[in-house]
């Protein structure tokens, strides 16, 4: 779990925050509320998850409960990998 979260944080920081100033994202912070991801950003995140973790994100799984924070994404990936 912690390893996945750290990898995800690196991905989010490298691709969306890109070293720009602003508050540090906490593990439970909403990507939406903090304007880290917009709708295209979520689609990019999903493509990244599918490629990196060899999972298939179902249409009905594309909900904020699974994808809207480092905590929720890491937990979702763990569940999917069983």
């Amino acid at each position: 779990m912690e390893r996945i979260k750290a990898d995800l944080r690196s991905y989010i920081e490298a691709n969306f925050i890109m070293g720009a100033g602003g508050p540090v994202l906490a593990d439970g912070d909403s990507f939406l509320e903090h304007h880290v991801l917009d709708s295209t950003g979520f689609l990019e995140l999903i493509a990244h998850l599918e490629e990196t973790y060899a999972i298939r994100v179902g249409d009905d799984e594309m909900v904020p409960e699974n994808l809207d924070s480092l905590d929720s994404v890491a937990a979702y990936v763990l569940r999917k990998r069983g």
Partner: protein
């Protein structure tokens, strides 16, 4: 004013008075701010560009308005038919310019079809396609599905990976950008100004292509809700076929309503949702008025704000590190 489920009145408009006000503003803007001699209007055959063309004629006279019809391979034949009927009705000089060869040379169709074939390898020239939005109103994250139809009519659909989605949109955006290039050719040739034709929903929610249909010198109906644009078309006495035209994107080969591609709701409900949002009304009140659940209404409000954030990039001119030029 409140929202009523039975008698929606909040978007009622005194169309004659409003046409008068817009006309005065257009003349004033043309002469005193833009310093040009007339208007170029791209006519799609839809309601917004038709009303803009009619308002332009009302403002400066038919002799100072140039209409451009720019169909391409995927345009509906009805669009050009209605556009021609409008140009004749208004008595304006107009030109039909088929942009398909230009789009072909730029790779518009090839780039689009390559992306489609990554999802549906059997997709061929005689198939049709469109993109539809999904997820948002059900409480999920917005995503896009590609729908394709075989020549026999069999439909297939699949979620679009982001890379393919972006390539299809980028390729189809050539259409709006090529049209804008032609608008400005004629504007420069005639020393006219280019009229942009978005209604309030499109302008506010960013339903336009940056440096494509988003580019213009003035946008005379950007403050009018779509419902009001329809009322204006009737008040201006436009041909019946135009007054009844359903809003479509006319960009993909399968028929595609604007609410399938971009907006969460059909335009009449979307108008009322946007109005309610800007009046500070709650989701429960909107839900009651348009017959959706309170949770759905809240998602519509959230989607309105998300699209406004995305639209900031579309509206913005180039950033500079500090203000440059006269302040």
């Amino acid at each position: 004013m409140t929202l009523s489920a039975n008698e929606p009145r909040e978007l009622d408009l005194d169309c004659q008075a409003e046409a008068e006000r817009i006309g005065r503003w257009m003349v004033d803007t043309l002469a005193r701010r833009l310093h040009r001699r007339g208007f170029v209007v791209a006519i799609s055959g839809g309601i917004d560009s038709s009303v803009c063309a009619a308002l332009s004629v009302r403002a400066v006279g038919a002799g100072k308005v140039f209409g451009l019809l720019m169909p391409e391979r995927d345009s509906s034949g009805f669009s050009t038919e209605r556009g021609l009927a409008l140009a004749q009705h208004l008595g304006i000089t107009h030109e039909v310019f088929d942009i398909a060869p230009t789009l072909d040379a730029l790779g518009c169709y090839r780039q689009r079809d390559e992306a489609i074939q990554r999802v549906f390898p059997a997709f061929a020239d005689d198939w049709k396609s469109k993109i539809v939005i999904a997820g948002g109103l059900a409480g999920g994250i917005n995503f896009f599905k590609l729908v394709v139809a075989e020549p026999g009519g069999d439909l297939h659909e699949a979620r679009l990976p982001v890379r393919d989605y972006l390539q299809i949109v980028a390729a189809t955006n050539f259409k709006q950008r090529v049209r804008k290039t032609l608008d400005y050719f004629h504007a420069d040739r005639l020393n006219y100004a280019v009229v942009g034709t978005p209604n309030r929903l499109e302008y506010d929610q960013g339903f336009f292509v940056k440096v494509g249909d988003g580019a213009a010198d003035l946008k005379p109906i950007a403050h009018l809700y779509k419902t009001q644009v329809y009322a204006m078309a009737r008040a201006l006495g436009l041909p019946e076929a135009i007054c009844r035209a359903e809003p479509t994107t006319d960009t993909y080969t399968l028929a595609q309503g604007q609410d399938e591609f971009y907006f969460a709701l059909p335009y009449a409900q979307m108008d009322r949702a946007l109005w309610a949002r800007d009046q500070g009304m709650g989701a429960a009140e909107l839900a009651l008025a348009i017959g959706i659940s309170a949770a759905q209404a809240q998602r519509v409000f959230d989607d309105i704000e998300a699209k406004r954030r995305a639209a900031r990039y579309l509206h913005a001119s180039a950033e500079t590190i500090e203000p440059v030029g006269p302040q």
